[in-house]
């Protein structure tokens, strides 16, 4: 088992890195972004650093500097591959690291996503998770034509009709995760019996209709895919405010939050734990990770210079929904340790530029944290839940 005092480390992979000009760095590989080899190299690097998991960003529209429309820019990376398929493509090439692709719940089918993540768990022998995301972007909705969303849902979120719509989108996401989870449990672990005597391949009493009926949809079940190796693959979500905190407190195993300093980290942790207490879930069942965009070099000056150089190339100073760090591995270790002391279970680091900042995390930050006893020296378990100290849950449908 992993030590409870250690900090968990995840890396968020997205294109050439999180800075919009990262693809222009000398070691960037912008021509390879849509090849399997690019992603395999990154995830294998992360695994060499013994990171708990990688997430892979995704979305149902072109990347844009605008919330709900294409911005027409030609100087930044545009285009993505499906994150679940990237994760499946790299799974056979890695052995221990967790694989957490992003999935938009607003426009997709919980039945499909449940079996896709269950299958990722089979392909990776128990290393699958998912980052669920809600989409309130009107142009993504127009790619599906099944619902209309207002153009400025986020900007005008204080309008009563928009506040209500956002609540509904998260309530729908909650139902979605509930369905995904029930489908994972819809086969008991020993449902496949292969009993030649009676000619039965499965014991149908160990298969369960989930019969979910909610405000937004209903799903009958059971899944077509048996219960995955972890039982319940990891469900994760990014959250910036009370409504998504509540969603995560109820439905997620990991929530990513965005404090800008140590004090705020403590405040957010308190709020999330408060929401969690209302749901009755034990504190250990939800891990809180802080988001950090990182530019890491041997000197603080070098890191700051690199970020400014990228800012100049992009024509604007880079800001993010998360704290932007530029400095040395030692400074980053200090920051992460301080935030850990404020009650966080781990960090999800967003490399400013790839592969540079990922390499720096693996060769600099990780050994530093290991030296301080804040990070385990090697993987001690084989599954993603295991890495996070989460047990394999009992099946909700199994008779006890």
């Amino acid at each position: 088992m992993a030590e409870t005092s250690s900090l968990r480390l995840a890396v968020a992979l997205d294109g050439a890195g999180w800075h919009p000009a990262a693809w222009r760095e000398p070691d960037a590989r912008p021509g390879d972004l849509f090849t399997a080899g690019y992603w395999a190299d990154l995830v294998q690097t992360a695994e060499r650093g013994r990171l708990d998991f990688v997430t892979i960003e995704d979305g149902l529209a072109l990347q844009s500097s605008r919330m709900s429309r294409v911005d027409g820019r030609t100087d930044q990376v545009r285009g993505r591959l499906d994150a679940v398929l990237i994760a499946a493509r790299v799974a056979p090439l890695t052995r221990r690291i967790g694989l957490v692709p992003s999935v938009t719940v607003t426009h997709t089918e919980p039945f499909h996503v449940s079996k896709a993540i269950a299958t990722l768990d089979y392909v990776s022998s128990g290393r699958a998770g998912v980052r669920v995301q809600v989409s309130g972007r009107s142009h993504e909705a127009a790619h599906f034509g099944r619902r209309q969303l207002p153009d400025h849902l986020y900007r005008d979120r204080d309008r009563p009709e928009n506040t209500e719509l956002l609540h509904d989108l998260f309530e729908e996401a909650g139902d979605y995760v509930e369905v995904v989870r029930r489908l994972w449990d819809s086969w008991e672990d020993d449902a496949e019996i292969r009993d030649s005597e009676t000619g039965r391949f499965v014991d149908r009493d160990r298969l369960h209709y989930i019969d979910f009926q909610g405000r937004f949809f209903s799903v009958r079940g059971p899944s077509i895919t048996p219960r995955p190796p972890q039982g319940q693959p990891l469900v994760t979500a990014l959250a910036h405010s009370t409504v998504p905190y509540r969603f995560a407190a109820q439905h997620a195993d990991v929530v990513y939050v965005t404090p800008f300093d140590e004090e705020q980290a403590g405040t957010i942790v308190a709020e999330v734990r408060g929401e969690q207490q209302i749901t009755g879930r034990a504190p250990s069942e939800l891990k809180i990770f802080a988001e950090l965009v990182v530019f890491v070099d041997d000197t603080e000056m070098a890191a700051r210079d690199r970020k400014s150089r990228l800012d100049d190339l992009d024509g604007a100073e880079y800001h993010s929904d998360a704290h932007v760090f530029a400095g040395t591995p030692l400074q980053l270790a200090d920051l992460v340790a301080a935030w850990g002391a404020a009650g966080l279970d781990g960090v999800r680091l967003r490399p400013g530029a790839l592969p540079h900042d990922l390499d720096a995390l693996v060769s600099g930050l990780v050994p530093e944290l290991q030296g301080r006893g804040l990070s385990r020296p090697d993987y001690t378990t084989a599954t993603l839940r295991g890495h996070l100290g989460l047990t394999r849950p009992a099946n909700r449908f199994a008779a006890v």
Partner: protein, 457 residues
């Protein structure tokens, strides 16, 4: 035309029906990834064109209960194929994906992604269904009237095709010095408005190596054949006998000229099982014993019920056929099963079965073994190789999709014993000659739809 035209071969991972014999001691997992890896590696070692996965989106039921006599359960198609792309280099990766319970934007980005991640080896078998039974697993429900399922499937595929073609070939510049990543500001721009899809915006996956992944179709109706002749690269055919195969082959290829296409742009591949042994007579014995394993007494009654549309559990599988007639109307006894729709005139089929059983003194089980068998090649390696060649030479097919009855090792013996003979005779490739599945199949590039459509092609 050479004397022995090259054939194309697909390897069908054994499915969730009674063709697959799970009770055999050699039978392994249908879910664990290792089974798929082993099967794929055998297919690639034998230079098969592609591996093929079927799909079913609800567990089958009979008489209101989950059907438990066959293999039950399967993993997600896209996820398995993407994983297999990591452990194979040339093998095509073909997945069946239903157009009814999906949206074009999502499916197009999944197939385009698979094509990128496999460096040009993706194929989509486009199928459709309408049943409310399967729809109960989806938030949209069983929304589609039966009569419209082909119309929607057609529009779905054409829309996805526009999305596959929505990025220019040289859209990505990725020029670090000038800071130009894209050629234009709105790559993937599309608009599609018809009775089923009212969508527009920008597709977010760059054009994939094959442009449009290889398209398979399996529809057999007049409408389905036209659609295949117009748009498909390959047909998964059920016309396995020589004569039926020739008629189907002539018919479909004959339709292509109307759509400005030539016969080489579409390959017709019937699905077929095989029973292979040292001698023809041993193979016949093997085939018989496999059929007996595929159709137990219990299975025979269940398959009979699917035509009769009634509970026949009181009947003895070793006894005669029921005197009572099939129940007409909607088939309510078996759900989630495409095969029941093939019984278009249950009374006539029942009469025919009774006659056959009486004439040959067959029990229910013996009859079902006879009438539900799939096309099968039975014989020594030489016999099977020559039979396959004959089908291709005589215009019944361009090759085959082979369906082993054992998972995952059911293809091994075929790869070891039949493939070398075909290769030696020059009727199957000795090695891959191209990189992509389109290269293997020799169907050429697909025409381009949407805003980059070439006119007058």
């Amino acid at each position: 035309m050479s004397a022995t035209p090259h054939m194309h071969l697909g390897a069908h991972f054994p499915g969730v029906n009674n063709t697959t014999v799970w009770s055999d001691p050699r039978s392994g997992s249908h879910i664990e990834f290792d089974s798929f890896v082993k099967f794929a590696r055998t297919a690639e070692r034998a230079k098969f064109d592609f591996l093929f996965l079927a799909e079913g989106l609800r567990l089958r039921e009979q008489s209101g209960q989950i059907y438990d006599l066959d293999v039950v359960g399967r993993p997600d198609t896209f996820t398995v194929l993407a994983g297999l792309a990591a452990v194979t280099d040339r093998l095509g990766l073909a997945g069946t994906i239903n157009s009814t319970f999906n949206e074009p934007y999502e499916v197009a980005r999944q197939f385009a992604s698979l094509d990128h991640l496999s460096a040009g080896r993706a194929a989509w078998n486009v199928v459709t269904s309408w049943d409310a039974f399967t729809g109960e697993n989806f938030r949209r429900g069983g929304f589609l009237p039966q009569a419209e399922r082909y119309a929607r499937a057609r529009q779905f595929m054409l829309t996805a095709w526009e999305l596959f073609d929505s990025w220019g070939t040289d859209e990505i510049r990725a020029d670090k010095d000038s800071g130009t990543f894209l050629e234009t500001g709105r790559p993937g721009l599309f608009e599609h408005h018809d009775d089923y899809f009212d969508i527009g915006g920008c597709f977010n996956v760059p054009r994939s190596p094959q442009g449009r992944p290889v398209i398979f179709q399996a529809g057999d109706s007049d409408e389905g054949r036209d659609f295949a002749a117009e748009t498909a690269d390959a047909i998964f055919s059920r016309h396995g006998s020589l004569e039926a195969g020739q008629a189907f082959y002539r018919d479909v290829k004959g339709r292509m000229a109307r759509f400005g296409r030539t016969p080489e742009q579409l390959v017709v591949l019937p699905a077929t099982t095989f029973a292979l042994a040292d001698t023809d007579s041993e193979a016949r014995e093997l085939a018989h014993s496999v059929r007996e394993q595929q159709v137990s007494g219990q299975t025979a009654i269940k398959l009979l019920e699917q035509l009769w549309n009634r509970d026949l559990s009181a009947h003895d599988p070793d006894g005669p056929l029921p005197q009572i007639d099939p129940l007409l109307g909607e088939n309510t006894i078996a759900r989630g099963r495409a095969s029941v729709r093939m019984y278009k005139d249950p009374l006539a089929t029942a009469a025919e079965w009774r006659q056959r059983a009486e004439a040959k003194s067959l029990s229910i089980r013996q009859l079902i073994i006879e009438v539900t068998g799939r096309q099968s090649f039975v014989g020594s390696p030489e016999t099977i190789a020559l039979t396959m060649e004959k089908f291709v030479k005589e215009g019944a097919s361009d090759g085959f999709i082979l369906v082993p009855h054992i998972t995952p090792g059911g293809l091994d013996e075929f790869a070891d014993r039949v493939i070398p003979i075909l290769q030696e005779r020059g009727s199957f490739r000795a090695d891959y000659e191209g990189e992509t599945l389109r290269d293997h199949l020799g169907v050429g590039a697909s025409t381009t739809r949407g805003r980059f459509a070439r006119t007058g092609s």
